[in-house]
Structures are given as C-alpha cells and as structure tokens.
C-alpha cells in the first residue's frame, strides 16, 4: 500500500495524498483517464506485475486496485 501511495503521489503530483479503500478518481483532482494510465504503468513496473484489460475494468476505487495487486502478488 505504501508503495502504491508513493506512486500515486508522484504521478498525480499530490504530496499529501492519503489513499483509502473508498477513494476513487472523482475524489482526486488530476486523476483522469491519462494519469490513470500512467498510474497503471508505474504500478506494473514497480511491482513487476501485469494487469489484464478485465482487471482494469474492475477498478472503480483504490480498494479494488489493491485487491487486484495483492491477488497478482500472491
């Protein structure tokens, strides 16, 4: 989670952003479709995982993203 949070902070340029499970793109300024793509690629390369299109469609809030990341890592 800390790793994901630091990626979010760097990509979205929000130094004090705190991720919660229910946080979604609508709640954060600058989290649009383009920065979402950047977040995804950064998380993929940092954690050495690969999301599928299906996974990406499931991500509605941070909690979903974390669940998917955990399932990929386990």
């Amino acid at each position: 989670m800390d790793k994901i949070q630091s990626i979010f902070r760097t990509v979205l340029k929000h130094d004090d952003l705190i991720l919660t499970e229910n946080l979604s793109a609508n709640d954060v300024q600058g989290w649009d479709s383009l920065s979402h793509m950047l977040l995804i690629s950064e998380i993929e390369s940092a954690l050495n995982i690969k999301f599928k299109l299906k996974d990406l469609n499931k991500m509605k809030q941070v909690g979903d993203l974390v669940d998917i990341v955990l399932s990929k890592l386990s």
């Binding site: 479709s33 793509m37 995804i40 690629s41 299109l53 990406l56 469609n57």
Partner: protein, 482 residues
C-alpha cells in the same frame, strides 16, 4: 422542426402543458408522453426511418438484459461483442457503404483495373451517429459490470430517442439519463428559469452569431475568385460560426431538458479559450470526445502501454481518425481527424499533455499575453483544420489553402459591408466577453452573481431585441448532417 421555429414552440408548449398539468407527478405517464413526443419529433424529420430506431431500441433492450444475466461469462462477452458489431454494421451500412465503394473504385482504377460498381441510393437516418453511440455504450458498460440494465422499456426507449438530443446530441450516457427518467419529476422553478436563460443564450449564439457569420463564410465554390485575405477571414469566422452554431444548439437542447426537469451532459466548456489542442478537445463536443476516450482510446492505450509515449500517440491518432470519420464518409473527415491526432504528438512527447492548463489572468481579469498567444495559436490550428472539415474534396481543401497563402493575402478582405462588419464585431465581442466572464459556469447566462432583477430583465430584454432585430436567416444546424 428546428428549436427556434414556431412549429417547435407549439409542439413544446403542448407537451409542457400535458407533462406538468395532466400527467403531474405520474412518472410512467410522463415517460410515455415523452416517448410519444420523441417519436413524433423524429418522424417529423424522417418518418421512414423511425422503424429502424424502434427496432434498434428493442434489440439493445433485450441484449442489455441478456448480457446482465450472464455478466462476467463468455456468453456475456459474445453478446456484447455482437451488440457492438451490429451497431457498427448498421452505422457503417448507412453512412459508409458508398464511401467504401467509391474509394475502392478509385484505388482499382488508379491501378489500371476497370470496375463496374455502382454506388447505392442510401438515405442516412438523421441522428443515427448519436443514437448508435448511446446504444453501444449501454451494452459495453453492462458487460463491464458498470451498471444494471434498464428493466423499464419505456424509460430505456425514451433515453435512446429523447427528442432534445436525438438529432445532434449531447451523447448522454445511460447512467446519467436513465436514472433521471425513473425519478419523480415535478416542476422546478429555479431549474426551469435557468433552462430558459440557457435557451435564450443559445438563440443568441445560433441566430445572431452563427447565422450572420454564415452569410459571410458561405464562400463555397467561388473561392478561387476571392483574395487570400478574404478566405483567411472566412476561415477564422467559420470557426466562430461553428462554435456558435453547435454550442448554441446544445444550449437550447440542455435548456429544453431543464424545462422538463432533466440535467443533460455538458457538451462545451468555452473551447475558444483552449490553450493547446488537447485542451481544445477537452472543451469541444465533450460528450463525443469522452465517449471515444472511454471506448476506443483507453482500450488501445492499455494494449500499447508498454510502448510508452509512442503507444499513446498511436492510440490518439487512431481515436482522432475515428472522430473525424464519425462526422461523415469522406476523405476530408479522415484527414481532418488525422490532422488533429498529429497535433497531439508534440504535446505527448514534450509532456505538455499531462499538464493541466491553467488560465493566467492579469490585473483586469483578462488573459495574460502568454496565455492569449497560446489561445490564438490554438484558434488558428483549429481554424485550419476546419478547412478540411468544410471542403468537398481534398483537392478543394488544398487549393483553398494555396489560395490563402498567395500574394492576395495582403489585399483588403472583401467580405461584407463596413456597417455589417462593425455590428458583427460588436456581437462577437459580446459572445467572447460573456463566455470569458462565465467560463467556469455551466452556460453564459447562469447569472448567479447578479442579484438585481432589474439588471437581469435588462439583459433578457436586450438579448431578445438583438435576436429579433439582427437574427440572420434561419439556417439549418451544421451538426444535423452527422
């Protein structure tokens, strides 16, 4: 039936009276009324193709339910793919058959092969590009598990055919409009007056700016006899005309929606003040751009994300070629899309694409020189793109461009009488000023900060007088053809 015609006023007044007085607080009956009115409105434009609209509605209603039953399974994916293919096939048949026949014919003939093909007489159903996109997003989103399908057939059919939006959008997503159709709607005075203001502002844009500009920009086939400066001025004015026409139309649509108790999707956010091409497309025809972002750009960008910026550039170029082609079956539209896609490349490579553009203002609240320069550059780039958009053929666009950059560029433009020029400049200045002051609001006449009702009525009255006295000849809305 144009929104600014007397027929529409009679149609709408009847509907309004029935909607709020006879069927008051009866959501189902109000929806049936809206559906009947929508089909009647559509039939007035094109009654022969009404059965196609009804058939498409029924097919997608059934598909939505069937996909939802098995969501997540292979069957649901097959059904949603079927829905997408069917929608694109219908759209392709009506809009692009002749384009492909003639393009292949030209290709074969240039290779020395003789063909004996004929193009067909196909009538393109009005609004097909708009309602097909509504239907496609419906099945895609259900299969993605974004929301449940509509069980109420009347509400769904009204969503697809909703008369204010059927001819030229905005392309509302199912989850914005369908829930509103299922809720109780009572007359909301504040919303309705805001709607009326927006309609008034839309009429000013359409009838005063767009229709009068049309008289000056309608250079047409005679362009080779015009000076470069006349053509350049015509080109720049056409950008204003196009904006005033389409956004004016949209203001009327949204205003009509508000009178019936609906909040429709915002389609414009002062695109004339965009500071680069990406910013422009975030502000222009927002419902179309965001549709293609979600269903074309994002999947492509995800697929090619390992290629970094180049993957993104390629996804954007493909998306824009599709945006161009969506407007019609012609190479001019394809190249128009390609032109805009290519304008993104330097932005992506320089990282400018990811920076949010902020409007920097000076002491008097006007843009700073640097901001203004960026806005003007974007305006010029958009205007040159519109040469392709307007031209009958690529050759014509090329010749037109060549004519602009000829020695006659320095001649005095011969575009209208001096008096007309002064009056039009004044109205254009009003448009720009009002848009500038209200750039963060939903529309130009929102007036939250004007408390005095005398001032408000003075503004309404002046606008009505201007529309009455200076409204140009009633021109068809440019976007009806798409």
């Amino acid at each position: 039936m144009l929104f600014n015609s007397s027929e529409f006023v009679i149609f709408f007044a009847t509907l309004f009276a029935l909607y709020y007085f006879i069927f008051k607080e009866k959501t189902k009956s109000q929806n049936i009324l809206l559906l009947v009115a929508s089909y009647f409105f559509y039939a007035c434009a094109d009654w022969k193709l009404l059965p196609l609209l009804i058939a498409a509605t029924l097919v997608y209603y059934g598909l939505g339910l069937a996909i939802f039953k098995t969501v997540g399974s292979r069957r649901a994916t097959t059904l949603s793919t079927l829905g997408v293919v069917f929608g694109i096939a219908v759209l392709g048949y009506f809009k692009y058959t002749n384009f492909f026949i003639s393009s292949f014919q030209t290709l074969f003939e240039s290779l020395g092969l003789h063909t004996n093909w004929h193009t067909f007489k196909i009538i393109v159903p009005i609004g097909i590009s708009f309602y097909t996109f509504r239907l496609l997003s419906y099945v895609i989103d259900i299969s993605r598990g974004k929301y449940e399908p509509a069980r109420d057939l009347v509400a769904f059919a009204t969503y697809v055919a909703f008369f204010p939006c059927i001819l030229s959008g905005p392309i509302d997503r199912p989850n914005t409009l369908i829930p509103q159709l299922q809720k109780k709607r009572i007359f909301d005075y504040a919303l309705a007056t805001d709607g009326l203001r927006q309609i008034l502002w839309g009429m000013f844009k359409k009838m005063v700016i767009a229709d009068n500009c049309a008289a000056m920009t309608g250079i047409g086939a005679d362009y080779m006899n015009c000076s470069g400066s006349t053509l350049l001025l015509g080109t720049l004015l056409y950008t204003l005309q196009m904006y005033a026409d389409f956004s004016g139309y949209t203001d009327m649509v949204i205003g009509v929606g508000k009178l019936l108790g609906f909040q429709l999707t915002k389609n414009f956010a002062c695109p004339l003040f965009a500071q680069n091409i990406a910013d422009y497309w975030r502000k222009w025809h927002i419902s179309l751009t965001s549709w293609l972002t979600d269903y074309v750009f994002m999947p492509l960008n995800i697929k090619w994300r390992d290629w970094g910026n180049w993957g993104m550039a390629l996804s954007i170029i493909i998306t824009f070629v599709l945006i161009g082609s969506w407007h019609g079956a012609s190479w001019t539209f394809v190249i128009f899309g390609l032109y805009h896609g290519l304008l993104y490349v330097p932005l992506i490579l320089s990282g400018g694409m990811f920076k949010k553009t902020k409007i920097e203002t000076g002491k008097w609240g006007f843009p700073k020189l640097k901001t203004l320069a960026k806005m003007l550059l974007t305006f010029f780039l958009v205007s040159f793109g519109l040469i392709l958009f307007r031209a009958d053929s690529l050759t014509q666009a090329w010749n037109y461009l060549g004519r602009i950059f000829s020695a006659s560029l320095f001649a005095i433009p011969a575009i209208s009488e001096m008096q007309d020029k002064l009056i039009m400049s004044f109205f254009i200045a009003i448009l720009l000023l009002v848009d500038w002051v209200n750039r963060d609001k939903q529309h130009g006449l929102q007036m939250d900060n004007i408390k005095s009702s005398v001032v408000k009525w003075l503004i309404y009255f002046s606008l009505i007088v201007i529309i009455w006295a200076f409204g140009g000849s009633q021109e068809r809305f440019i976007y009806f053809q798409f």
